[in-house]
């Protein structure tokens, strides 16, 4: 089981990877979304805000997200550190993502571009 701090650190690693990728920033400049990341085994909620191509990570939840990502803490940490692809836990039901299909696919594309295959 990962801790809230580990999830936060993994999100920061994800944010760092995102911010270093200029192409990704350009590609996402019109994709403004609020993503809620929540663990279902520990008390841990974070909000990712994508606005004008910039990604910020905030502690805590938001009321009206575009996408909700829910998984156990270990999966979330692995996912945002890039140790696993989102598709694997998604296909076995460990990772639950709520939102439009297009947004879910876009999120996966971003992960692919940050961490590779």
């Amino acid at each position: 089981m990962a801790t809230h701090e580990e999830i936060r650190d993994s999100l920061r690693a994800f944010q760092e990877g995102y911010n270093k990728n200029k192409k990704l920033k350009i590609m996402n400049r019109d994709w403004n979304r609020v993503v809620l990341i929540e663990a279902n085994d520990v008390e841990s909620k974070h909000t990712l805000i994508l606005k004008d191509g910039e990604l910020t990570v905030c502690e805590g939840a938001t009321d009206n997200p575009d996408i909700i990502v829910t998984a156990d803490s270990e999966t979330l940490a692995d996912l945002f550190y890039g140790d696993i692809t989102p598709t694997e836990p998604y296909m076995n039901g460990t990772l639950i993502i709520k939102g439009s299909e297009d947004d879910i696919v876009r999120l996966d594309f971003i992960s692919l571009m940050i961490w590779g295959e």
Partner: protein, 453 residues
């Protein structure tokens, strides 16, 4: 409480479920249904088919409520049985859907060739595939309102044309229950299931609605409305055009429209079929390309299929591969004229999927009795068991009537199983070796590239 910003309405759920089902090839299946029966009993077979599909829809509703995911059958069967079976069936299902797209493009090309005889069907096939592939690569999606307008408009027009046709010949239902025997009726119902193929493709939208009940209601309403539309339209077609002409034509709806309204009828039908096919075609390509992309991300297919366009954010290798395979299937259909094999294969495959869905409901109730089920089928195991049993019989009826279908699907299943048990483990092992770096120490690709790694 946290709530998503975007939510879909029941109207769009019905339109999506019915819209994915309504296509050019459904009319071919409708006259095949009538062809099995001696009297005007096509309506009976179609309504029965619809009713049976509703039992499957109830099973999908329970599964979808329990596991709301765009991964659909892959996830349901994974939880209920095992990943190997789920993957084997999903790969084969996608291959069969590719076949349906091939049949669909062939039929649509025939329709357009009928309307514009100077342009060959081959040219139409290439144009259609190129347009839809282009839309997929650029990432153009058919908007919800457009899907609503096309689906509801199409259903109203089909009913109107049927009423006009029936009124013109002063139709009297003379033999509404004359089926020609139980075997004929069974075969007609089995092929009639194809008329509803794809209603469950709406389940991936589970992540975009407020409550999974909307999906189940939408599926049931779509099947109900479609049953009535198909029943009335098929009776009108068989009452106004000689049955032999309809059964031997890949474009029976055009013959019907031409018979009742002449050139105006032809023009209306061309427009309708084009609109219906494009939405089905586009949705099919999107669905399959995403499946291929997701499979590559999961290391089930070679990683080349997970390449994405940096300009449009779309899985271009997956889309282009499907373009090539789709065109090949269409060309094979164009030269062999064996579109009915594809239609029957889809009907049989769909029956197999419904059998597994019924069994999955039963298995999951035993395996995960305490799991949350926002929708639970009433009456215990009766409906899921009946659904599994009925669709087993229907699949059997198709296999015995069309042994070639059994042969092709059997070979497909073996090939898919071989791939899942032999090739997939190797692909996964290769990926594990590539990804040997320790947890929490990986660096972003951009960073690693800068470092010269």
């Amino acid at each position: 409480m946290v709530k998503l910003k975007k939510i879909l309405t029941l109207r769009t759920i019905i339109a999506t479920s019915a819209g994915l089902t309504l296509s050019s090839s459904t009319f071919v299946a409708a006259v095949q249904v009538a062809g099995f029966l001696v009297g005007d009993a096509a309506w009976l077979a179609i309504l029965t088919g619809g009713l049976l599909c509703m039992t499957a829809a109830l099973c999908f509703s329970e599964l979808n409520g329990m596991i709301p995911s765009a991964a659909g059958i892959r996830l349901y069967f994974n939880h209920a049985f095992n990943d190997r079976l789920a993957l084997t069936v999903s790969l084969l299902y996608m291959a069969v859907i590719m076949g349906v797209i091939g049949a669909e493009s062939y039929i649509l090309a025939e329709i357009l060739h009928e309307a514009f005889p100077l342009i060959s069907p081959l040219a139409w096939i290439l144009v259609m595939f190129t347009v839809v592939t282009g839309m997929n690569i650029v990432g153009i999606r058919i908007a919800g309102w457009f899907q609503d307008a096309i689906t509801y408009g199409l259903m109203v027009t089909l009913i109107s044309l049927a009423v006009i046709g029936l009124a013109k010949i002063d139709f009297q239902l003379s033999a509404p229950l004359a089926t020609g025997g139980a075997v004929n009726l069974l075969n007609a119902v089995a092929v009639g299931v194809f008329l509803f193929v794809g209603f469950e493709w709406v389940t991936p939208l589970a992540e975009e609605v407020t409550h999974s009940r909307l999906i189940s209601r939408g599926m049931l309403l779509a099947i109900g409305i479609l049953s009535v539309v198909y029943a009335v339209f098929t009776v009108a077609m068989t009452a106004t055009v000689p049955r032999e002409s309809l059964v031997n034509s890949p474009i029976p709806q055009m013959l019907f429209a031409q018979t009742i309204l002449g050139d105006t009828g032809t023009a209306i039908m061309v427009m309708l079929t084009l609109a219906a096919s494009i939405t089905t075609f586009n949705a099919g390509l999107i669905g399959i390309s995403r499946f291929v992309y997701a499979s590559a991300r999961e290391h089930v297919l070679p990683s080349i299929f997970s390449k994405i366009s940096l300009r449009f954010f779309t899985p271009w290798v997956a889309v282009l591969s499907i373009f090539v395979i789709g065109v090949l299937i269409s060309l094979l259909t164009l030269f062999s004229h064996r579109y009915l094999v594809l239609v029957n294969m889809a009907a049989a495959m769909e029956s197999v999927i419904y059998v597994l869905a019924g069994l999955a409901v039963i298995v999951l109730r035993k395996k995960m009795p305490d799991a949350q089920r926002p929708y639970r089928i009433r009456g215990g195991y009766i409906i899921p068991a009946a659904s599994a049993l009925i669709f087993s019989l229907l699949a059997l009826a198709i296999f015995t009537t069309f042994p070639r279908v059994f042969l092709y699907l059997g070979l497909g299943m073996l090939l898919s199983y071989w791939y899942v048990t032999r090739v997939v483990p190797r692909l996964k092992q290769l990926q594990r070796q590539k990804r040997a770096s320790g947890r929490r120490r990986r660096r972003p690709v951009a960073h690693a590239e800068k470092q010269g790694d």
